[in-house]
C-alpha cells in the first residue's frame, strides 16, 4: 500500500536518526574495545558490537525500501497552445418544442450550389437527353391533339 508523502518523510527521519545513533554506539563501543585490556571485557564489547551490527543491517534495509518507494516526478511542462473553446451543442431533447419531420428534411437538404458541384459531366449528358426526350413527347402530344 502506498504511503502519504509526509508518512514517508517521518518514517525516513526516524530510521535515519536511529541508524546514526547505532553507528555512534558502535563507534563508542569500538573506542571501549581499544581501551579495554581484559579479555572478558573485550569479548563482551565484541558481542555488543555484533548485535548492533545486526540491528544496523535491519535499519539500513528498511531505509533502502523507503527510498525505493519514494519517487519525485518532474512536473509536466505547461502547454502554450491555446485550446479553442467549442460552442456547446444544443440539447434538442431538453427543448419543449417537438421536432417536426419537415425540420429534419430542411436540415439535411443540401444547398443548390453544393448540388451543382456534385454533378459530373456524365450526369449533365443524361439530363440533356432527358430534356430532349420530354420536348419530343410534348410535340407528339400536341400533334395528337391537333389530329383529333
Amino acid at each position: 500500500m502506498m504511503k502519504e508523502k509526509n508518512e514517508y518523510l517521518t518514517d525516513l527521519r526516524e530510521l535515519i536518526q536511529k541508524e546514526a545513533k547505532i553507528i555512534r554506539a558502535i563507534a563508542s563501543a569500538g573506542n571501549g574495545l581499544v581501551q579495554s585490556k581484559a579479555r572478558e571485557e573485550k569479548n563482551m564489547i565484541n558481542s555488543q558490537i555484533e548485535s548492533m551490527k545486526t540491528l544496523l543491517k535491519r535499519t539500513t534495509e528498511e531505509i533502502s525500501s523507503i527510498l525505493d518507494d519514494m519517487s519525485v516526478m518532474k512536473p509536466l511542462p505547461i502547454s502554450k497552445v491555446n485550446i479553442q473553446k467549442t460552442k456547446p451543442q444544443k440539447d434538442y431533447s431538453s427543448q419543449n418544442s417537438t421536432l417536426k419531420v419537415g425540420d429534419m428534411y430542411e436540415r439535411s437538404k443540401p444547398k443548390k450550389s453544393e448540388l451543382k458541384k456534385e454533378i459530373t459531366d456524365l450526369e449533365k449528358d443524361i439530363l440533356k437527353r432527358l430534356k430532349k426526350k420530354e420536348k419530343k413527347e410534348k410535340i407528339v402530344r400536341k400533334k395528337n391533339q391537333v389530329d383529333t
Binding site: 536518526q17 541508524e19 546514526a20 553507528i23 555512534r24 563507534a27 569500538g30 539500513t60 519514494m70 512536473p75
Partner: protein, 54 residues
C-alpha cells in the same frame, strides 16, 4: 577497530543526518535530480559504514 575508524564512523553518522535533511528538502521541493543525488549519497554512506565495521 582503530581510533581513526572510530572518528570516521562519527563523521559518517553526522553526514547521514545532514543528508536526510537535504533529501527531505528535495522531496518537498519536487526536485528529482537533487533527490536522486542525495539518495545515492545516503546509500554510499551506508556502504562505507559497513566497510569500516566489517
Amino acid at each position: 577497530m582503530n581510533p581513526e575508524n572510530i572518528d570516521f564512523l562519527n563523521q559518517l553518522a553526522n553526514s547521514l543526518e545532514k543528508a536526510q535533511e537535504s533529501l527531505e528538502e528535495a522531496y518537498r521541493r519536487g526536485d528529482p535530480t537533487y533527490f536522486s543525488k542525495v539518495k545515492r549519497f545516503i546509500l554510499q554512506i551506508q556502504d562505507k559504514v559497513f566497510e569500516v565495521i566489517g
